[in-house]
């Protein structure tokens, strides 16, 4: 029985890796057999070689993008949670704000970047702000949903115990809303990475976004591809990090 479990587990880890290798292999195979020109597309083996050879150039740019994403995300998510708690604390405020939350989410916050540049210059601050702006609304909405959907039974329990407002807030409301908070946080990672690269493309020449644009312009496609792989890696790792924290915090529920 135990052995069976181990094989099943190994299979669970191996299967996706196998698919990854297969897709890369197929990619490589197609590029080679169709004799695609290297200035148009870069086959995985070349890309990895480039990635290693140019690591000293790629790494600093990557680091900047990561920095923008992480700082912006933390600011955005914190703001989202705090605003959600404020807005849901009062029925009138909740009613007044709710219809506009959706505006914030569906409007690409990236449109603010040119104006932000005008006010704040070209530096990293603009990108951090762009990331924060685009990651807070989805987190705010999700947290609000979580707070609103705490079951009446749980509040009645607290009332029957004559609990204080603070006790109800920390011992029931927050833990009840946590699953929704995490849903928002997971979705916000997507918004954060997208807007970080987007903001970079609009302003400045450092970071992953501008590097891809720059090297594509000069037909150095292998370097562009190397950055694409890096970005893929960052996004997946970021998502998985939040996912991991989530399953750790919500363990056993």
């Amino acid at each position: 029985m135990a052995e069976k479990n181990v094989t099943r587990r190994a299979l669970g880890i191996m299967a996706p890796i196998l698919v990854f290798v297969l897709v890369l292999g197929l990619f490589e195979f197609l590029v080679v057999t169709l004799e695609m020109p290297t200035w148009l597309i870069s086959k995985p083996s070349d890309t990895f070689k480039t990635l290693v050879a140019n690591f000293s150039d790629i790494w600093p740019n990557t680091l900047i993008t990561i920095e923008e994403i992480l700082i912006g995300y933390v600011i955005g998510v914190t703001t989202g949670i705090v605003l959600a708690l404020i807005f849901t604390s009062n029925r009138f405020l909740d009613k007044a704000i709710s219809p506009y939350v959706i505006f914030l989410i569906v409007t690409p916050q990236i449109i603010m970047v040119p104006l932000l540049m005008l006010w704040m210059g070209f530096g990293i601050k603009v990108k951090i702000l762009a990331v924060a702006l685009s990651s807070f609304p989805i987190n705010m909405m999700s947290t609000m949903t979580g707070v609103r959907s705490v079951s009446a039974d749980r509040y009645e329990l607290m009332k029957s115990l004559r609990a204080t407002k603070l006790q109800t807030f920390f011992k029931v409301l927050i833990p009840s809303a946590l699953p929704n908070v995490f849903t928002g946080m997971r979705l916000a990672t997507i918004f954060a990475t997208t807007s970080a690269v987007g903001a970079e493309l609009i302003s400045g020449n450092i970071g992953v976004g501008p590097q891809i644009a720059y090297h594509t312009e000069f037909m150095m496609v292998d370097i562009s591809f190397a950055y694409v792989y890096v970005m893929l890696f960052i996004s997946v790792m970021f998502y998985m990090l939040i996912n991991g924290i989530e399953s750790l915090v919500l363990r056993g529920r």
Binding site: D153, K159, R253
Partner: protein
């Protein structure tokens, strides 16, 4: 002596479209250390009654007394904390283990120390839940969760238990078993219990008095004293007197099959 008294209590809920007279002139009295059931169809306001007693909501008019203390606008904390509320669904907090759930009321009220900890152990023992004390609710069966819900209601050693259809969602066999267990606990700890149910047999089995309610507006049809000795077990179900009470109350409520109304 009467532990709990309600006098001419009315409860009117007003919404934009309509006014609902949920409770009309409810007067009940619950003798100390007795089990009194309130039985009636869904929507007759029987759950509202215990929410009033626990001051989760306030009545539109009428008086409520607990230990001869009359409820004012602000009901004293010490009065409410004499009660343990047991919900229809177990209503356990999924992020806490079973033990943490049961000691939750102690934490809120601020009961600390060895004595209270040992009491939780005792409760777990009574509910035969000691082995799974460190598991979370998601790992447990419905019957176990319900038992834990009942035990949590007793964590602060309440003098009064307000039980809101505690076993209503369970099958007949399990329900009768938990009814007997509740009677057992009651015999040991001697609380005053108000037991809400829509199941007539359950009401008769448990109580020394049954209030029969009807709906629209929610009011009391009749007060039936159950003159059967304690301790009781399932053999009582075939007692002619029991059957008589069962039939009388059932016919009072109407020809309805109450177990199907829910």
């Amino acid at each position: 002596m009467d532990k709990i008294v309600l006098k001419d209590v009315n409860m009117i809920f007003k919404t934009k479209r309509q006014t609902i007279h949920a409770l009309k002139d409810i007067s009940i009295n619950v003798p100390e250390k007795s089990i009194v059931s309130i039985v009636g169809p869904s929507g007759c306001g029987k759950s509202t009654i215990i929410r009033l007693i626990c001051n989760i909501i306030e009545p539109t008019s009428g008086d409520i007394y607990v230990d001869e203390y009359r409820y004012e606008k602000e009901v004293s904390k010490s009065t409410i904390r004499k009660m343990g509320f047991i919900f229809q669904r177990p209503n356990l907090l999924p992020w806490l283990t079973l033990r943490e759930n049961i000691e939750f009321p102690q934490k809120i009220v601020g009961h600390k120390g060895k004595e209270w900890k040992e009491y939780v152990d005792e409760l777990l023992e009574i509910g035969r839940l000691t082995k799974c004390a460190d598991l979370r609710p998601s790992a447990l069966s419905g019957g176990m969760l319900q038992r834990a819900g009942v035990l949590r209601g007793m964590a602060n050693k309440p003098e009064i238990l307000l039980m809101d259809e505690p076993f209503g969602a369970l099958d007949d066999l399990l329900r009768e078993q938990l009814d007997l267990e509740t009677l057992d606990i009651w015999r040991k700890l001697n609380q005053t219990i108000i037991f809400i149910t829509h199941n007539v047999r359950e009401a008769v089995l448990m109580s020394s008095k049954v209030y029969v309610m009807t709906t629209a507006p929610g009011r009391i049809l009749e007060e039936v004293d159950i003159d059967l000795p304690y301790p009781r077990d399932l053999t009582i179900l075939t007692d002619p007197k029991f059957i008589g009470y069962d039939q009388r109350i059932t016919s009072l409520i109407g020809e309805l099959d109450l177990t199907k109304i829910k």
